[in-house]
Every structure is written in C-alpha cells, then in structure tokens.
Symmetry: C2
C-alpha cells in the first residue's frame, strides 16, 4: 500500500480507538486479483466504481491490476479520483446544472470523460457547455430507476449524434433488479439477454452500433461473461464485499474484507450490550431483501444480534450468547452495506492478520455534488 503510515506496525485492530473501520488487506488483495483475473479470462474491460472505497490510493491499485479507468457518480468524486490519474473516467449518473457542467469541463481537461445519461436535456446541457464528453445512453433493463426503454434508444442516440462537442460512444445499464444468483435470478438474466440481443441488433440496423456496452451488478458480477454483448463491467463492492454481497450469492463470509471494531460501553440492561457505534457509524441501511431488521453481523460473539440503533448507540441482544460481556470489550462487526459505511468514516485502517499496516483517508467521502 502506498498510503501514508499514520500508525506504527505494532498496533492491533482491537487496540484502535473505536469505532474504527478496518480492512483486511490480504482479503482485499485477493478480491482485487480475483476480479482482475476474471476480466482477463473473459476479455471484459474493467472500470471499477470507486463509490465503494472512495480512495484514490485504492483506485490506483485497481488500475495497476488492469482496470482501464474508473467510475464515479458525481463530479466531486471525479475531482477526487483525478488524484489516481485514470486514463478514462465515467460519471455514471445524469449530471444536471451549470455548476456541474463547469466542473466536468475541468475534469475533461485531465482525463477522457464519459457521462452516462438518459435524456436529450442532459446531453444538450453538456454540449452547450462545450464539455468534450463521450456519452453512454442509459437503458432501463428492469430496475426502473434511470434509463430509457430499449425502443427509445435509437431516436435518443440519433438526436445526440447531432450535437456538437459530445460524442455517442455506447450504451449502459444496471440490472439492479437481479437480487440473487439463484434460479429466479438466472431466469431474469435470460430475459436480460433476450432484451440485449434484440436491442443491439436494432442499434446495428439503425447505424448506432455501440463501441461500449457497459453493465453488470454486484450479485451477477462473476456471471458477467454470460450477459449478451456486454464489453465492460463497473463493479464497486467486490473490493471489500459485505453482508449484502453474501446475501446476493456473490461471495462468502471469508471474502469480506471490511469490518468495524466497536467497544461495549454499557452492560446495564440485562441481556443487552450497547456499543459505541450506531447509524452514524454503520448507516441505517437494512440488509437487502431481508424481512428481519439487523444492522451487521457480530463476528466475534456467536449468537449476538445487532437489532437496533440510534446515532451513537448500537443495541446488541446477547440473550443467546454463551460468553459474558464487559464494558470495554471489543466487537468486530461485518456491515450490511460497505459503500455507505465508508462514506461515514474519515479514515480506514488496513491490517494483515489483525496488525495495522497502513491508514488511509476516505478522500472521496461526502462528495454529494
């Protein structure tokens, strides 16, 4: 790791001031290598979404392992990620408003910029502001979030091609409606492939053959080679993984690199301990597609249930635990959703086998615009 060493090598993660966000570097390295190998094997371009780690240091590492560029959501994130000197930068969010246009123009001076969007209005704004951006036209494949319907692609692309300064370069999609790689998910994948097959054929006929077909999602990340016509993927979570990734079937518990170390601060209510982290530390994100309400998995206390939070207080039900708890005990907790947790922390401690090796700032946190 090239990050500055703020903490000596001798500190154990359980001796850090808490709550502390820690990353097992051995697991992270293996996750990065696995994705690099996968993309190599299947000749898929890799443009990782940096929203998960929010760190130019880790973005640099992804590119050293073969990523052709980076993905961000907002101009503020793009500005931070310029520190990693990417050759290509994709802003995978419709960028609206004069302030953002000016910032993107500046970003485009320093890297090859692509913007994914789904309206002529958004493209006209880029064109009018003379932002030299490549355009991905976003297609809705079933999530019903952003993106036009397949049959609306060709007319929108035709209109975009008439605009100066911007250049149509491909299509993008996010099949976030596929929640799990089970039988149902595979059925959804077949539907997606039929849709992509028809869409790409129609675009060919209309003279709008895309250079890039950019897609993929976390649950389907290692099935990406089975998605018809896709040339590149933009995974984010794979670097760390989290409970949602396990739940979606895309990783195992031992593939999860990021955890939070918290301290027991109160044991005064029988059957319960309070830790020094709540929604300000873990976010209020619930486990996806889970009817229960839990905010993390306590790794070092079998039977403990993290079921409730206030901003600074985490409520852990320990009625099913055999071990006893004391004020000052440290708990290691796997979060539901690592991206939003990263956004809440100022720094991350990288460790190997519990020994802190490096500490890096979350440089891209809180970049809302």
């Amino acid at each position: 790791m090239a990050a500055s060493k703020l903490i000596s090598n001798n500190v154990n993660i359980f001796d850090l001031d808490t709550p502390a966000l820690v990353v097992d570097l051995d697991i992270m390295d293996a996750n990065l290598q696995r994705m690099a190998d996968y993309c190599d094997e299947h000749k898929l371009a890799l443009r990782p979404h940096t929203k998960t780690h929010k760190s130019p240091v880790l973005a640099r590492k992804q590119m050293e392992l073969g990523a052709m560029g980076l993905t961000v959501a907002k101009p503020g994130e793009a500005e931070v990620m310029l520190q990693a000197s990417p050759q290509e930068m994709l802003v995978a969010f419709p960028t609206i408003g004069p302030a953002k246009m000016a910032r993107l123009k500046e970003v485009a001076r320093r890297t090859s910029l692509t913007v994914a969007l789904d309206s002529l209005e958004a493209t006209e704004a880029l064109s009018a502001a003379q932002v030299p951006a490549k355009i991905f036209v976003e297609m809705d494949t079933g999530l019903h979030r952003v993106g036009v319907k397949p049959d609306e692609l060709a007319p929108l692309i035709a209109a975009i091609k008439k605009l100066p300064h911007v250049r149509y370069d491909g299509i993008s999609f996010y099949p976030g409606h596929i929640k799990h790689i089970g039988e149902e998910g595979m059925g959804e994948m077949t539907k997606l492939n039929v849709m992509l097959n028809q869409t790409l054929e129609a675009l060919d006929k209309a003279g709008h053959t895309p250079n890039v077909v950019s897609g993929g999602s976390t649950p389907t990340m290692y099935q990406s080679h089975m998605i018809f016509g896709m040339t590149e993927m933009r995974p984010g979570t794979y670097i760390f993984n989290d409970r949602n990734t396990i739940h979606g079937g895309a990783c195992l518990l031992e593939d999860c690199a990021a955890t939070v170390i918290a301290t027991v601060v109160s044991t005064s209510v029988p059957g319960q301990v309070i830790i020094d982290g709540g929604s300000k530390t873990f976010s209020s994100d619930r486990l996806l597609n889970d009817p229960g309400v839990t905010f993390g998995k306590v790794l070092n206390a079998e039977g403990a249930v993290f079921h409730k939070m206030n901003e600074e207080h985490g409520f852990i039900d320990v009625t099913q635990c055999e071990r006893k708890f004391h004020v000052g005990d440290k708990l290691q907790i796997l979060m539901n959703h690592v991206c939003v947790v990263m956004n809440l922390h100022e720094q991350v401690h990288g460790h190997r086998k519990g020994e802190v090796e490096t500490t890096w700032p979350v440089a891209g946190r809180g970049k809302l615009t």
Copy 2:
C-alpha cells in the same frame, strides 16, 4: 450570522448546486428564541446537544441566547465545539478507552467537563487517567438503552465518590421511550415523575442529593417543566426540527428550518422522477413509529411520495401529482431526521426567504470517536 460568506447575497436556494442542505434562518432564529424563552420562564438550565447542527458558529449563537454550556456525544465533537468557547461541556455518552481518556483530559483543560456514564468501570478509567471530570450518573427511565435502574444509583454514586480526580455532580436520563405528546405519552410522563420523585427522595436520604438533574427529550421538550425535579435540559433538534419532531407532536411544519434542495435528473420512467440525492444525502433513517416507508416530504410538489432510495438516487412517485416534471426541476424536501442529514453534508446554506445569506461548514460531521 458570524459565519464566513462564501456565496454572495444574490443566490437563491433554487440556484445552488444540488443536493444542497439549506436552513431558513428566520425559522431557526425563532426556534432558538422560543427555547431560550421557555427555559427562562421555567428556570431550566439549557445545555443544547450540538449533534443536531455540528457547528461551533451555531453553538455560539445558542450560548449568546442563554445556554449555560454545550452537550456532545464524543470527544471528537467536544474538540470541535471548543471553538465556541463554552463554559461547560457535557459528554453525554459513556467514554471508554485510553485514547479517549487522553483527549478528554485535554478538553478538560479548556472547559469545565462533565461526563454522563452508567458504570464504575467507565468512572474508574476517567479517575485513573486523572481526568478532572464532573460525573452525571445515567439512570434508565424506560428506554432501556444505557443507564442503571433507580435502585442501583445510590451504590454506584457511593463508589464513584471514593474515586480521586472525578466528582459526582448529578444524575441524567433520556426518556426516549416517550415518542409522542399524546394521551399515552402523558401517561408515560406521570410514571416518569413517580420514578423521579422516589429516586430523588432516596438519593437525598442516602446523602447523594444531585446538584444537577439533567434530562428531557425532543417530543417532550416543551413539557420539560412538568418533569419532576429536572434542573436542566439538553435538546438538540429544536434548532431546526424535522419530520420526526412534527410526528412526535413537538412542532409544526412551519417550524422546520432545514430542507434539502434536489434536482430532477431523470423522468424516463412514467409516474416517477429520480432526484440527485439518495441515502448519501438523506440517510436511510425512516420516519419514527411510522409503518410506511418514506424518506422525506416533498414541499413543493403536492402528492409526490419519496418512497425509495439508493445511495445517489431518490425515487419519487408522482402518479398523484397534478403538475408535470422535467429534468432540471428543483424539489425542496423536508428530511425525516435532521441530525443524521447534517452529518452527511459538508456545508449548509443559511437563507432568508430563499436568498442565501451565509454558508457554514459542518465542522463536527463524521466525528465518530
């Protein structure tokens, strides 16, 4: 406002880059004055919790209006709030671990420090580290979060009194189990008063008469004078209020000062618009005690329902709206829980009648330790 003027007076809140967190200064000023007057009238000391605004500029304003000190949850917040030069600082959270002890010792050099805690372990740690702290012993009045049972107070206080460097100064409690000032809430308040009456009598008899009885909660904030024996309150949310405060019966919609301005970035799915803010902007906090799932109230689009979020995307159902929506439209949204929203933003724009007057940084955001 004493904050630096980063933006000229001529900018309207709807012209800000979005998502933008804005505060109506007229409403905020009225909220601050109302609480100051209330505490004056009822001879209650006011020690506002700064977790809501996280700004030393606003903390200063609270003290100018008569607050006798400030409340924080973590040493990191205390460090930031020293910028406001408070005479008294209460850390209302059990503070555990050597790093925090060292930091609190430093804080205690610059202000009169009090720590609220509920265990002998936590007090012994302060004493051993020679932190000259006053101690509030936390009592559980029904929330079952932190705090000892009433009959455990006297023995704990007796043990604390034997420790050097620290000094027993009072008791504290947070009746967060009272969710609404309705009939049920008033019934809970009666139970609370019986408990406090008995507890204070027992403490008197045991020779542990508290100098301070610190309590209160947001739903009950303007009923605080009816809480038996309470000498001070520590409200936070009152400066801005939010949907939860309305829901708890403690304010009206027109008393809510803080809102988020967001931009419509996609209208491609019929009956829906997507805005440029999701859980990274609003947090995933749901409306308290509400079976529905909404993440804010859209103030300038009657019938719009903000029902779903991803990190950067807010999903607004507009099927019940009469008006039409276009990419670039600005929506003004009242959040469920203002404290956690403040923690997600780097800056806040203060406005009067929509014209931005001042912009201040959220200096205390992200202070987890």
